[in-house]
Symmetry: C2
Subunit: 197 residues, 2 copies
């Protein structure tokens, strides 16, 4: 019964992290009891994900347009760039409504023991964006952990000589929490209390 | 950004029961970081679900073949039919390895207050299967709740006059638990201790 369509769905849904056999089974039967459109619409969205996703050549967020809508939005403040480790950190900042500048996705944090140096991150691309005279501040929103802190200090050392202000999200975000999963009000407070590096 | 492929995946995955915005976001970014094949394979399985699924005309399980592999398997015991409420109850029985007979999916349980009488279930289809002289026992594995118990008693009353033995899963399955989610050993004990109705 390897070709059984229901078992196939269970097997495929089980690939998602945190989705076990039982949850996958529950979801598969749920789908089967919905109109066929529901499975078709979810299927179509998944099929389009890689095909229609690209990276913004400016901020390196995942997007369907290059440059992305945020980078090309004249309503956003071009004087401040918020540096995050991952694309999924951006919604955590956006949800607070407390930031209306631009972003830069580093692609991780410095971790010399794992072989992640500045060359493995988009540091060069960030520095080249600073040649735009409009930019007054870089807000470093890397995670509040050893790697995130080291990355923030490294960026501060690289950027400050150019006269651009470098700030860091305040420790409203509890230590040890990944930014992606931080609660909205902690992130909001962290934005307000950002401090000079 | 309504057409954003990532947001679309988040929105679609959020349709699954128990999958909130955060989980959907986590899964969508996880997918994006996998090879494109992963999303494509999950997508294909979902697209095939309704297209390739049908109901077995004998037991009414969800299947890709009619009659299903279990109903056409000569290695299974044709003398005993296990009656379940839903297709997803079958794997709960199968996992125990304690049953090698055939199944019958009723499609629910009697619930007069909700307008579910014998005509809304596949009772007639079950009774017509009993005209096969090979059948010696009907094991009623409806849920151990009011509706499931009422259904078991109703079936016993209908079937016993024909001389077929009617048994019920023992109360190894804790009362109030839906069979689909019962733990394997409780279901195994319930199979062993099934009692005459």
């Amino acid at each position: 019964m390897g070709a059984d369509p229901l078992r196939r769905v269970v097997a495929q849904l089980s690939r998602f992290p945190g989705v076990g056999q039982r949850t996958a089974t529950r979801l598969a039967y749920w789908l089967l009891n919905q109109p066929a459109d529901v499975a078709a619409e979810i299927s179509d969205a998944l099929a389009a994900l890689h095909r229609e996703s690209t990276r913004c050549g400016v901020c390196f967020d995942v997007t369907s347009a290059d440059p992305c809508n945020r980078c090309s939005d004249p309503g956003r403040d071009a004087r401040i760039i918020c540096v995050v480790e991952r694309p999924q950190d951006i919604p955590a900042i956006e949800r607070t409504g407390g930031f209306r500048g631009r972003y830069h996705v580093l692609g991780g944090a410095l971790a010399p023991l794992d072989g992640v140096g500045p060359e493995q991150l988009r540091v060069r691309e960030l520095l080249s964006r600073l040649s735009d005279a409009a930019i007054e501040e870089v807000l470093v929103a890397t995670d509040p952990d050893v790697e995130g802190d080291a990355t923030a200090l490294y960026l501060a050392r690289m950027i400050k000589p150019s006269g651009v202000r470098v700030t860091r999200l305040a420790h409203g975000v509890s230590v040890g929490t990944e930014l992606e999963f931080a609660d909205q009000s902690s992130v909001a407070r962290a934005l307000e209390n950002r401090r000079e590096l």
